[in-house]
């Protein structure tokens, strides 16, 4: 049923001794909404640009419908792109922008009129034909960009962080809008974002990337509930990531206590990473049956409290609707299904401790780290 439309095979992108993409293998199915997710610099935009034809991989192959397309330039591919800053042509009005691709393809003017009208209806911009691009709001420009791309009936639509410039509520509306359009037209959407909530909300498949390497591919639920390593666990939602030892199937040792869990398939006494989501922890009165710790911070977030608890020097984040005072001694209870075990990886130990939320904060007092001159990233975007 699911037909493979695009395949990236061992794609490597190297620029000036720097490896931007490290052997990326990816299959994208027809009609799928696939999101490339990761922090900035992870290679997600590079991957997108390879598919779009703006960049050729240093090595590796790109297949479209079974045909190798490495050397086919972007203007010959049946793929259209929505750019991060929309790239609407300032010297043309809304109508001419949308009609642009059709005019290049020398479509007859009557047909162009018809199809532009259709598109304007699809994106709810009827009546805006004569408007100048500079007289449009961010959301309207966004929709013109969508219309301009979709009118060409591409097989695949590439979206490069298109909602970044919009304010939060509009962004949520546009997410729904894009999802609706995708379902309605049945086109393959390849979406790039660093916003994990957005990725989880919109996608059929999520591809998590870091430093040019794909970390995990899966449905939003898979990626959230069964992260493969500490990076994915930390990047998607909040996670407490702890050291543990698998004593045997479905039994893990943490902080000197045994916990029942539901994962198996690990070697006996294998060191593992244990992931527990903050919302999955119940706070109970402190007693010897439970793991106990001291509350060191409480922040009211509206929906819930963020409570930082210190267990043997390791800080957990617990999200709960109950208030607990700083300094109070509490116990925690975790259901076995909510303990998720991952194999150790290069990322182990890097994340999961809630002494601070961000890396930058940790580095604040370190004079050996110097910011400033950024080596131009745009250099390798020339095609």
């Amino acid at each position: 049923m699911a037909k493979e439309l695009i395949r990236l095979e061992d794609c490597v992108v190297r620029f000036d001794d720097e490896v931007i993409l490290d052997s990326v293998n990816l299959k994208i199915n027809d009609g799928e909404f696939l999101t490339l997710l990761g922090p900035s610099g992870c290679g997600k935009t590079t991957t997108l640009r390879i598919i779009g034809g703006f960049l050729e991989p240093t090595s590796g192959n790109v297949y479209f419908d079974g045909v190798r397309i490495n050397h086919i330039p972007s203007h010959k591919r049946k793929i259209n792109t929505i750019f991060q800053r929309y790239a609407l042509f300032p010297h043309l009005n809304v109508f001419d922008n949308i009609a642009f691709g059709l005019r290049v393809a020398k479509v007859k003017e009557d047909e162009i009129d018809e199809r532009v009208a259709e598109m304007l209806k699809l994106v709810s911009l009827r009546g805006f034909e004569e408007r100048k691009i500079t007289a449009l709001s961010g959301g309207q420009q966004q929709r013109v960009a969508i219309a301009r791309a979709l009118i060409n009936k591409p097989k695949v639509l590439l979206l490069d962080e298109p909602l970044g410039a919009l304010d939060m509520r509009l962004r949520k509306d546009m997410q729904n809008e894009l999802k609706r359009i995708q379902k309605q037209l049945g086109i393959t959407f390849i979406y790039v974002t660093h916003d994990q909530e957005e990725a989880l909300a919109m996608s059929d498949t999520v591809v998590v990337m870091d430093k040019g390497v794909i970390q995990q591919i899966g449905t939003p639920q898979d990626v959230y509930n069964e992260p493969k390593n500490a990076f994915v666990a930390d990047f998607i939602g909040e996670s407490n990531i702890l050291d543990g030892v698998m004593l045997s199937d479905k039994l893990v040792l943490m902080f000197g206590r045994k916990f029942k869990c539901v994962d198996k398939g690990f070697a006996a006494n294998e060191p593992v990473d244990v992931v527990i989501r903050p919302e999955d922890v119940d706070i109970v009165p402190a007693d010897s049956r439970h793991l106990c710790g001291t509350v060191t911070g409480v922040t009211f977030k509206g929906l819930h409290y963020d409570i930082i608890v210190d267990f043997y020097g390791f800080k957990w984040l617990i999200q709960t609707t109950d208030y607990h005072e700083v300094g109070s001694y509490i116990g925690i209870d975790i259901h076995p299904e909510e303990i998720h075990i991952m194999k150790k990886s290069a990322y182990s130990g890097m994340f999961g401790d809630y002494s601070s939320y961000s890396e930058e904060y940790d580095e604040i007092n370190d004079p050996s780290i110097v910011y400033g001159e950024d080596p131009g990233e745009e250099e390798y975007y020339e095609s």
Binding site: S74, H75, T81, H91, F100, T134, R148, E378
Partner: protein
């Protein structure tokens, strides 16, 4: 703005325009001495229109100016687009060499070109190598840095995804240039063209070293008048040119004043602003 600054501004402006006022007055003077105003007359303008020597020379200047500015703009625009895609080191080397005609004193540029032409003449066994061609070549050469430096900022600041969007929508690279890119860099091209034209029209020093007796320009002719007093019709010509430039300035001011009221993308300030603010480094 403080009083003192305002006064200095007015004094300096007066200082700058004093000779011009003098020349304009001289155009209406029956006498030839600028210092002595004999009688008011339009006869100099009449003499200008009947003139057989000055007008052809003006035409020469115009021909060279138009040709050299157009060619320099075309070459320079292509160069600006191409230079962008060079590696850092090569790019800065090219830009350094590009700046040479601007940084070098005009006399050195003129001398170096004239020596090149003379050497070339010896190589290809031609005497009298200096003429229209050498003049044109020299003008294009000193116009190029200005056209390149006019277009480059536009090219650099242009959103690169505009060109990609055009190709994404089916344009070949050439089509993308003419349908999209050119509109974005047009102000730079136009201002480069204007600067080159103006510099070429008024150039004296460089032309002086590379011209040939068969084809002279107006400034060269004016220079040769050092021995005798200048015929007043030259002042008439000057006044007319000045009036034209002033008119252009006023019109542009009105146009950009109106443009300020509407949200517009391109910036007319840059248009003439670029004229001399290119950095001589």
């Amino acid at each position: 703005m403080s009083r003192a600054l305002k006064i200095i501004l007015i004094v300096v402006l007066f200082f700058l325009y004093l000779p011009i006022i003098l020349l304009i007055a001289g155009s209406f003077n029956t006498g030839t001495d600028l210092a002595v105003f004999k009688e008011f007359t339009f006869s100099n303008y009449g003499a200008l229109f009947r003139d057989r020597t000055l007008i052809p020379l003006l035409l020469n200047s115009l021909i060279v100016a138009v040709l050299s500015s157009v060619i320099a703009t075309a070459l320079g625009t292509a160069a600006a687009l191409g230079i962008r895609s060079f590696g850092k080191r090569f790019r800065s080397a090219v830009m350094t060499v590009t700046n040479i005609p601007m940084t070098n004193p005009d006399i050195v540029t003129g001398v170096s070109l004239s020596l090149l032409f003379v050497l070339g003449g010896k190589l290809f066994d031609r005497s009298n190598v200096l003429g229209f061609t050498t003049l044109l070549l020299a003008h294009i050469t000193f116009n190029l840095p200005y056209t390149i430096l006019s277009v480059m900022p536009r090219v650099t600041n242009m959103d690169p995804s505009l060109r990609e969007a055009a190709m994404d929508l089916g344009c070949t690279p050439v089509q993308a240039f003419f349908k999209v890119v050119i509109h974005e860099i047009l102000p730079g091209i136009v201002s480069g063209l204007l600067i080159a034209f103006t510099m070429s029209l008024d150039d004296f020093v460089i032309s002086y070293f590379v011209y040939g007796p068969s084809f002279a320009t107006l400034p060269i002719e004016i220079y040769s008048y050092t021995k005798k007093p200048l015929p007043p019709k030259i002042y008439a010509l000057f006044t007319l040119l000045f009036a034209m430039l002033l008119a252009v300035l006023i019109v542009m001011n009105i146009v950009s004043g109106r443009a300020d009221k509407r949200p517009r993308r391109s910036n007319i300030t840059q248009l003439v602003f670029r004229r001399k603010d290119v950095e001589k480094t």
